[in-house]
Homo-oligomer: 137 residues x 2
DNA sequence: TTAATTGCAAAACTTTTGCAACGCT
DNA sequence: AGCGTTGCAAAAGTTTTGCAATTAA
């Protein structure tokens, strides 16, 4: 409806999206900032945040709200589920089938309008499992 | 292991837990702060945060990391799933059966150690559905 | 050319923390 | 009495924003 903004394809925005598509360990905004600084030494956190919000709005990336601070970002927008390692704080994609039809079922049962769902698993990744044993709790 | 701390049962902590058990719309820390201020006009946000962390550590409440800012808190620690209304920002419990055994299955398949999972639904609640129609998108 | 974007700095917001006074046990 | 807890204020961490300069189209 309102004012359409004509986006430009800046080097910075391109690089952020590219990095997100490449990385398997979905980084936080700050991690992304440190990575991008290698290529753009003067890049600012403001630019990172602005572009993450734009890319999210355009549906090109996913925002994963896993921890208390700092969302993690995912360059793959196909629906899939995630595993959050509580040892190393990394986030991994899981290759388990998506529950299709679940949203509709829940909508009907609850009298609500479910748009999407998110299924997150928490625990220790292969690496942290090896290192920590069960001292982790 | 280390130093066991002997907790005291203060009025403030008791009231916070009580409020959380009572409310169906799981509040954020700040909402809780405003509610508790009615009973304790001088209560501070620091007290809210400290107690939420203690209660969480004691396993008496659940921390729901739904939005970018501000976790929501739930006074019920039985495993269950949640619905986040993207209209009014409230969070509701869902009464759908829990996927038992899912954690084990995913652990095996992924070579990881899943401790628990979280299933969140997003959309419009009964109220917001009525008000907004599909202008919400 | 021109309007979106950047880098920078400051502001806004959430959460934590140091400390003296207070209050459970 | 002893020490965990509170309220307050300041600090730390995350995210947004105003603005002049830059840059993609």
């Amino acid at each position: 409806m309102g004012k359409e903004i004509k986006r430009r394809n800046t080097k910075q925005r391109k690089a952020i999206l590219e990095e997100l598509k490449k990385l398997k360990t979905h980084p936080t905004s700050y991690t992304l900032f440190r990575i991008l600084k290698r290529k753009f030494p003067k890049i600012s956190l403001g630019t990172i945040y602005r572009n993450l919000n734009i890319l999210k709005e355009e549906g090109k990336i996913l925002e994963l709200t896993g921890g208390k601070y700092g969302c993690h970002y995912d360059g793959c927008t196909e629906q899939h589920y995630h595993f959050f390692c509580i040892g190393c704080n990394n986030v991994f994609d899981l290759e388990i089938p998506v529950f299709k039809g679940l949203d509709k079922k829940v909508s009907k049962k609850g009298g609500i309008e479910v748009k999407y769902h998110r299924l997150d698993f928490y625990g220790y990744c292969q690496n942290c499992k090896k290192k920590g044993g069960d001292s982790y709790g």
